[in-house]
Symmetry: C2
Subunit: 332 residues, 2 copies
């Protein structure tokens, strides 16, 4: 049976929500969860009937958020180091971690290795849209400074992921820019545009709003920009949420009205909730690594595990290896 | 009496909403509106009792959105060229334009000129927050590629604007980055951080979500990043709006509940609505130029005119000139 390693240490809200997420996934799908973390805290959270589907690798140490990603390679007793080591040794088929994302990325890149031909691995984050399909944005934070060639790789990886893992027939790829016109952009995106225009899947420049309206399936950008727009988006959603809550509570009449809208608010939350997309695969490394948000709740971890299973079953790493082995030289 | 030039051509929805905005402002404040645009279309939109407060400069030509900003300097018969020319000749005290923003910026920079010591003018956009004060983000799109020194200028200009125009006592300035820790950032922001840390007003790195939570008053970034986060934010707000509307309409019971929440939704709209902030001043040029959104409604134009009046009354351009004349050399 497939084994998936879950690093339950180092998340923002402690071990409990992460282990609860693993338990939820175990109830629904067949796999062995290799849980890396503090055994004394983990064991009581696993229901007895699921214990035969769980292996615990005891580990109390983890990379703190304030530590540098570079230090991760020396921290051989940390939970993420142990998780990536298991993946490296084929003891598991995937790693899911809500811990220090920089540490997960550098360990994955160094110990698992890049797919031949991929210049830089990228984090591919799934976003809710108003259409019936989500969109994907990459790089969502792995590479703060990028060269145009990296963005071409991100486009190819995003296209393949959308096709083989998400199951879209003809994924459309856009380049995140400050305007839709071909001549818009900064130095990086203008140079990237020239290279990307040779690909059939490339639909030109898109703007921040296109992340949420489904006008393209994959949005490509450098990791700094990707991170900015994702966090700004979260900020807006949370601001709207807090204004709504405050205003509803300010009068009995609106509280009464809100009772009738519970279903609407639940659907809105479901539609816009990041948890439903679990985690973000680190595309471009040779095996499946899923980076989850530090503040992941149980539902997000459950979904991240489903994502890992889907990535394994779709054999995305082998498909990417095949594509990059046959990649034509980039034209300008 | 103060004269303000309003370029009513080239906005997304035609002349009508722009002129209506001018009319609203004229009803509330004392100034002369110098309206540049197609006289035959403008005249019927001005109520008779306000006509003595209006001068129309007939002009049917304008810079199309698809034209390049660079071409604006040659288009001497265009509405924005005429508006900026009036400002240059001191025939008006400010220009408000919802037309081609690149054209407005390059004409303002070339014909009005930069304040001595300012390396690049920047667009300073006001954003709604969940606190009781708005925040300002600059550069919101004037400079796609920036040097660290530019970001230092943006920080100083944003601080001065927040202090003298918005009236904040001790404005706090943050640097938009991919994490709050001092070592986070891309090459540009890391170099900018080193220079900004010498200023008392500098509160370190902030993230996209800080634009909306009031944790700082001024957020500094390159114009490409600023544009991305603003458009992504608009995209999220509009996605939430459309999901809410769709879900409310899907059942009679929620439609009934929504009746009781009309006040709540109105307040949310008011709080999160960009129109309330009108336009964005182009800081760093020697006179007052307000750049408005191409899709501005009447309310947005009305507010943009109030912003222009406030900028003139606070004498922000002279204050900036004074600050930059006395600016200490940047340390690293």
């Amino acid at each position: 049976m497939l084994k998936i390693a879950i690093d339950v240490m180092g998340a923002d809200n402690g071990i409990a929500p992460i282990v609860q997420g693993v338990v939820r996934a175990l109830k629904n799908r067949d796999f062995i969860a290799v849980i890396i973390g503090d055994e004394a805290q983990i064991t009581p959270l696993i229901p007895t009937h699921l214990r035969q589907k769980v292996e615990i690798v005891h580990c109390a140490d983890y990379i703190r958020m304030e530590e540098s990603a570079a230090s991760a390679t020396k921290r051989t007793q940390s939970s993420i180091f142990k998780a990536i080591e298991l993946l490296q040794n084929d003891a598991v088929s995937a790693v899911v971690s809500p811990g220090h994302s920089g540490a997960s990325m550098s360990l994955a890149t160094l110990k698992i290795g890049r797919i031949k031909g991929v210049l830089r691995p990228a984090i591919c984050t799934t976003m809710p849209t108003t259409s019936d399909k989500p969109s994907m944005i990459l790089d969502a934070g792995a590479n703060t400074d990028c060269k145009p060639e990296y963005l071409v790789d991100f486009a190819i990886m995003g296209y393949e992921y959308a096709k083989h893992v998400v199951g879209l027939e003809n994924p459309r790829v856009g380049l995140l820019s400050n305007g839709e016109e071909d001549n818009k952009g900064n130095e990086l995106t203008k140079a990237s545009f020239k290279m990307l225009k040779h690909f059939d899947f490339f639909k030109g420049n898109v703007e921040g709003r296109d992340i949420f309206n489904g006008s393209v399936d994959v949005i490509v950008c450098d990791g700094f920009s990707g991170n900015l727009v994702l966090k700004a988006s979260e900020g807006v959603a949370s601001a709207i949420n807090s204004v709504l809550k405050k205003e509803i509570k300010s009068c009995l009449c609106s509280m009464f009205g809100a009772l009738f809208l519970r279903g609407v608010f639940r659907k809105l939350k479901q539609k816009m909730d990041h948890s439903e997309y679990g985690g973000a695969p680190l595309l471009g490394v040779q095996k499946v690594v899923i980076i989850s948000h530090g503040s992941s709740n149980a539902r997000a971890i459950e979904c991240a595990i489903y994502q890992a299973l889907l990535a394994i079953e779709s054999d995305i790493c082998a498909k990417l290896a095949h594509t990059f082995a046959n990649k034509a030289p980039i034209q300008e």
